[in-house]
Structure formats: C-alpha cells, structure tokens
C-alpha cells in the first residue's frame, strides 16, 4: 500500500508571505493530484501532475512533480486569507484507481 506523507502538518502565516508544502512517498506515483478542502466542504481538485519534473502554475500556486515521481510540492506566492484550507495530495491507486490521500497540511493565512 502506497503511503503519502505530507509536511508540515500545520502552517500559520501572515498575508503576503510565501510558503511551500510537500508530499512524499517511498513508491513511484503514477500521477499525483492536489486538492484543497475548506470547512464543511469536500475536497476540490487543484491540479493533476503526471510527468516527472513537471511544473504547473495556477495563478499564485506552483506545483512541481519530482523527477523520480516520488515527491511533489505546492508553492504559494503572496498568500491571501482566501488560501486558508486543508491541502491534500492524492494518488490514484489500485484497479479501481481509487485515491490514496496524504494526511494533509492545514494552512491558515492571517490578515
């Protein structure tokens, strides 16, 4: 069973600061997805990365997939209070391509 480790578990920063959160596995990912979950809601997909070394940008969010496809990072530039939420990485596994999730990084951006 593939295990996804996310760090840090909690992150509290001031508005305008930059931050990076990480997702690591001892196994190779077939692909990796990043989700954001806000209180009272289900996770919402932010991005899917497939190719080793891939970099994707979504406004102030930059996603990187490691060359060996065993790690990924999410970098947020000039964080805003609206970025507050639980950031989850997940990888499709198994015959049904069900998602295996990391434990998440709880981000709080203070105004």
């Amino acid at each position: 069973t593939q295990l996804l480790e996310q760090s840090p578990q909690f992150l509290s920063i001031q508005e305008g600061e930059n931050l990076t959160v990480y997702c690591n596995s001892s196994s190779v990912f077939s692909s990796l997805q990043w989700y954001r979950q806000e209180p009272g809601e289900g996770p919402v997909l932010l991005v899917t990365v497939v190719t080793g070394g891939e970099v994707k940008k979504l406004k102030r969010l930059t996603f990187q997939f490691g060359d060996a496809r065993k790690d990924s990072s999410l970098h947020i530039t000039a964080a805003q209070p609206g970025d507050t939420g639980l950031y989850l990485c997940a990888s499709p596994t198994g015959s049904a391509r069900q998602l295996t999730f990391g434990s998440g990084t709880q981000l709080t951006v203070l105004p």
Binding site: L4, Q6, S30, S31, Q33, G40, E41, G42, P43, V44, L45, T48, V50, L88, A90, P92, G94, S95, A96, R97, Q98, L99, T100, F101, G102, S103, G104, Q106
Partner: protein, 115 residues
C-alpha cells in the same frame, strides 16, 4: 448542472445503531466512491461502485456496506455503530472507468457523530 449531492448534512446516532447515507453523483457520472475522513486526517477509501457492483473495497469491516441504483445514485450503510465511526463521509463521482488522469468530484459530505 448540479454537482455531487449528499444527504443528510449532519447526523447524530447512538452506539450500536445503524445509519444510511445517500449520494447523487454529478450528471453524466456513473462511478461512485465513498471515503471516510476523520478529523484532521485525509480521506480514506471505503469502496467504489460501478454498474451497480462493488468494484473495489478499502480496509473497512463488513459493517460498512453499500449499494448503487440504476440511476447511479448510491447509499452507504454502517451497522453496529462504534464511537470511532464518527467522521465526515464523502462521496465522489467520476465518469466511467477512464484512464488517469481524471477528476473526481466530491460532495460536501455527511458529518456523522456517534455518541
């Protein structure tokens, strides 16, 4: 176009009772998965339904069972509730059995509290 809907939003049950949670997938989606999310944790896969059959199951006891109807909606049943079953139960849908990458759409979840 309605996304994934779940009912009820919140539920409080007593140990030993049984509960049924319901999910309607996003229009055009025929594959439904259920996840359990404990407080402060990532979601854990319970099972997936496709063509009214359980296609894959996670590491959950037989107390957890499900069903998919011809209109693709789904139910999650939990028998003999334990305190540890308290969690947010998420339903996710996607179209068919398509290859990666694909997007799963999650509902808002049902918050189950067992006392």
């Amino acid at each position: 176009d309605a996304g994934v809907t779940q009912s009820p939003t919140h539920l409080i049950k007593t140990r030993g009772q049984q509960v049924t949670l319901r999910c309607s997938p996003k229009s055009g989606h025929d594959t439904v998965s259920w996840y359990q999310q404990a407080l402060g944790q990532g979601p854990q896969f319970i099972f997936q339904y496709y063509e009214e059959e359980e296609r894959q199951r996670g590491n959950f006891p037989d107390r957890f069972s499900g069903h998919q109807f011809p209109n693709y909606s789904s139910e999650l049943n939990v028998n003999a509730l334990l305190l540890g079953d308290s969690a947010l139960y998420l339903c996710a849908s996607r179209p068919g059995t398509g290859d990666i990458p694909y997007e799963q759409y999650f509902g808002p979840g049902t918050r189950l509290t067992v006392t």
